[in-house]
Amino acid sequence: MELGSKLRTRVLKLRSFRRHMAIAVHTSFETVRLNFTRAVLASMSRNHPIPSGRTMSRKRPVGSAKRTRTARSFEQPKKTKVVLLACGSFNPITNMHLRMFELARDHLEDTGQYEVVQGILSPVGDGYEKKGLIEASHRGEMAKLAAESSSWIGVDTWESRQANWLETVKVLRHHRQELLSREPDTDVVGTAKAGRKRKRMDASSATKRRKLEEGPPQRSDEPRLMLLCGADMLDSFGVPGLWKPEDIEEIVSSYGLVCITRGGSDPEAFIQGSDLLWPHRHNIHVVREWVANDVSATHIRRALRRGHSVRYLLPDPVLGYIQERGLYTTE
């Protein structure tokens, strides 16, 4: 279910409690979770703003709440806003890729410490030169079609438009800059797609370089950018020569990892055994996918080559795009 742009603007102007209610009413089911229930309960309570699950045990004297039930009286512990970035071939994008975002968001929000406000798909550029990698323009378009039905996941083609392949850490740095250059009081939900249109093109390259050297200034409401990946990426940290140690260090210290496991890998053990990763273990979130789901883009490409159906493994609009252009029919 996609929000109309006018409706989205109205929704974004609401704050905290009322924002939760409005979003709960207007967006699709996957965003209606504990927040909605709490909001409903809060509207039913007369004196007690309903705290989050974490603070339920905190006792409040009955008569203390002279406050009206306004947005500002709705107390919740301050949560860190998170933006999830996934880098990959997306060759093509699949339901599994999109599931990763959903799993990551559920996991982070379940801790009570985070609010995931945006998801970014960043397809790799053609300079990556992987066998069977079709043009970035197609991969970006398919990702956009796939993300259309999502209220919070969008596509950024900056990486795919670079001439040469970029290290992951550089992509992270770029997107962090993008987040910083946004208006500080803008609610991020839903602006992921609109925001890129308002991207500031006027920052000089010198300013940008200085900002990078100094390190981005920490705003209190700055969303934390975290890298979303599969366990295989985490495992790849152990491959000699594949990653620069300083890059790994930067990723897990300045950013953070959200790592979705497939069966057969043990990320916790890997972190435990790595002197580089272990100090930053609290910044590496391992999301266990309990249900095995091995459907990969590789499998889909193979099926397409053989003329087999891949319906329901990826969104219908993506499948339509592939069929119309006859993509992935040959090696």
Partner: protein, 261 residues
Amino acid sequence: MGRIPLVLLACGSFNPITNQHMRLFELARDHMHHTGRFQVVGGIVSPVSDSYGKRGLVPAQHRVAMARLALHGSGWVTVDDWESRQPDWTETVVTLRHHLQKLLGQQPSAADLQMPHSSLEGSSEPPQLKLLCGADFLDTFRVPGLWRAEHVEELVGRFGLVCVSRGDLQADRAVHESDTLFRHRHNIFLVREWVRNETSATEIRRALRRGLSVKYLLPDAVIDYVREHQLYTWQSEQRNKDAVLRPLGQQGAPSEPLNDS
């Protein structure tokens, strides 16, 4: 070309229908087509009736509605609510007979029941109806007293099975270990799904109870429906908690478990 027109029928709870259910049809169609002998002309989703008594089963009207939403853009798979509207639980073979009768557009006669392929006037091949199922369904034949021998015979002899399983050999073993199945092995088509995709309706209900996302595991329209009607809560999972599965409760009648996941 001489290809036999084929319709695939899947019986199950569809509680709710998922992308995985719809994948079964896609895989089966590809496989049967690639044998060179069949032309898959249709697929039927037949949700079980409420009297089946399975735990957590939400009313059939919802399960049928969700299946229709999911298959809206399918182009070849439809939903049939005949089984769900029957007053009592219907044996699989009875459902198959009903749908074959509809397909053939003729009254079933004793002669039809004897002959696996009734010949119609005209040169075109008569359409066939086969049951679409998963590998665990085959294992149920081995449980003593669970199936009437003549039902198994009719199911695999007269109709046939299209059985989708993972790359393991569970289905092959089940055919090997049953004389009835072995005798009709040419009417049992084993379709391999090499990649694991275990996102079942059970998992999805669990996720929904816990307020977790199920997006991309089933169509958005079904998720919206679930939300609008507030299906699949902790309460709904308690439904039929102490009930006995209808097939097991029938006095003096053999029982059969349902083919679903």
